[in-house]
Symmetry: C2
Subunit: 341 residues, 2 copies
């Protein structure tokens, strides 16, 4: 059987059909790039060992368009997204699965670039891609490549962070500027060019969450504000904990270029997705130590205390604007941003 | 905000955009149907407890067309497929994640039917769907619904089954008739009608694997012959273990209707996918006990010893045909069957 033409070849239906072409693709691409001892045995599953018996499990499918964007691509994003969902629970992300849905005709060279990017992102985050799956759909029934990752992480005994644990008096923090990812994607789609190129903030947050957990025993919860942006994350917390939140617009870092692009595109940075930022709620007495720990980490240099939890039977998220007024930060209003992750 | 119109409504881009529509869909459909305590907290991940520290992890994406077919649908299949991949490793499947990629315009009534079918299949198999994700793509960029499931199961200490463990003298068994699933799908697609309707064998095999593990300490490996059929599974084993396999065509059960449809469609049942069958390799002395245990289980009534492992440096799978000849059973030859799972 002829080798795979990585330069000019495209995905064919046979690459998902269970025969030799599929075995060859798995062997030459996925097993070679992910290079994991557990994935090498050609089994349909990985056998893994955990440090304890408590785990966190999460999954996300990635359908982002375009597949390659300033600051990342669907491969690195698929690793970061699930690593972050596991990490914000307080767990240490360990293992990922990867499921690919390929459209026939997709260039193998692009697929390889994406898989290499995934492998690099996993190595950088210290997680292992241990099992996977490849399906192929006909042209016009997919869009290049969709990737699902599921992740598991180890939860230390007794650790429990939860969206339900915010209490009046707690402080609300974010790790950095809001809106970078979503604006980078929308700008790339709209073909906008700015003086300063806006890059996605896509990054694995498990290093940052580890220092936060060590610094603040009073940490109630962490959350990565992806789709729906900070506004959605804040509203979910208010709802789940049965509290209100009061935040200050002036305290929320937004890059100048992002703010400008948002004005051009008619977006509000608070509703725009982030892929390398988190918000946290912490007991007031631990807030200074948490903030210091975050700022000492490369991914938390711009961390800020943006507000506090209050008693509010309406579970409103209310913002003091830069003009001194107050407004309700509701769930997403207006047009949604499709395929942002 | 208006309620979801489950009768006439369709999937919209907003259902995947992170705002209130998405929260509503998750709440009213996924959380309501999967009804899992871990999934109720609106967290982005589930916190789980395992009986031990050794686990098996697997993932599969499902892109089957049509979505509903005789004997099942994409929802039940997405549960069975991953439960089986975990179970054949010797693990006890416990938890599943579920990732949905929906095409805008897909009928919410059909989505609900699929999710209900998933929930029922999970209950029947004794596994819990604990975390999930929903993405929406534009019309023409997907095909109704794709589902990814990832699964984890508990591995008892010291248990190790592997595709590498087949040794000359071992026996090869299958749990029942071959080709039912693939032929049911191809027949449904081709619009063929037969006197007896052929149904997919889609089923969760974890009950069967449990009795097999208990009956046969000498069990080397199990495998569910899905894409590529029995032929692919046998060739993978031969390759991974560095052995040859000798099987007898007359010993392989194939339903009469499946055989007839295969002739009509130009298919060979050995290359056609199964979704509720397994093959096993076992030490010769344990083969009778294993066969008896399988036959005593509802999903193994037609179990059979179909051949044995031999020393063969070429790693060939050779079959004694019903006519007394011998032929090599190679990997899939001819046209692949796309989107069979």
């Amino acid at each position: 059987m002829a080798g795979i033409d990585w330069q000019h070849g495209v995905v064919e239906l046979a690459h998902g059909a269970g025969g030799r072409s599929m075995a060859q693709l798995i062997e030459e691409l996925f097993i070679a790039e992910f290079a994991d001892p557990e994935a090498r045995g050609l089994e349909d599953q990985a056998s893994l060992t955990l440090p304890g018996t408590a785990i966190a499990m999460s999954t996300d499918s990635f359908v982002i368009s375009p597949l390659f964007f300033p600051g990342g691509d669907i491969g690195s994003l698929a690793v970061h997204g699930t690593v972050n969902d596991v990490a914000v629970s307080g767990a240490t992300p360990l293992y990922l699965s990867a499921g690919f849905i390929l459209e026939a005709g997709f260039k193998l060279a692009e697929l390889k670039r994406i898989v290499q990017s995934m492998a690099a992102a996993a190595r950088a985050a210290g997680v292992r891609i241990v099992t996977g799956d490849t399906k192929v759909v006909e042209r016009g029934k997919g869009d290049g490549v969709f990737i699902n990752t599921a992740g598991i992480g180890a939860l230390p005994a007794g650790r429990r962070l939860s969206a339900t644990l915010a209490r009046p008096g707690d402080r609300v923090l974010i790790s950095g500027s809001m809106g970078d990812h979503g604006v980078a994607i929308m700008a790339a789609r709209a073909g906008l060019s700015f003086d300063t190129r806006i890059e996605s903030d896509s990054a694995a947050l498990n290093g940052l969450t580890a220092v936060m957990l060590a610094a603040a025993p009073g940490l109630r919860l962490m959350r990565d504000p992806t789709r729906g942006g900070l506004a959605a994350a804040l509203n979910e917390i208010a709802q789940a904990s049965g509290v209100g939140l009061r935040i200050r617009e002036a305290a929320i870092p937004v890059q100048e270029e992002v703010r400008g692009a948002c004005e051009l595109l008619g977006l509000d940075p608070l509703y725009v997705a982030n892929e390398g930022k988190l918000m946290a709620v912490v007991a007031a007495e631990d807030a200074p130590a948490l903030l210091a720990a975050m700022r000492a980490h490369p991914l938390g240099r711009e961390a800020a205390i943006i507000g506090e939890v209050v008693a509010d039977p309406r579970h409103f998220v209310e913002m003091e604007t830069v003009f001194g007024g107050r407004r309700i930060v509701d769930w997403m209003a207006g047009e949604p941003l499709p395929r942002i992750c």
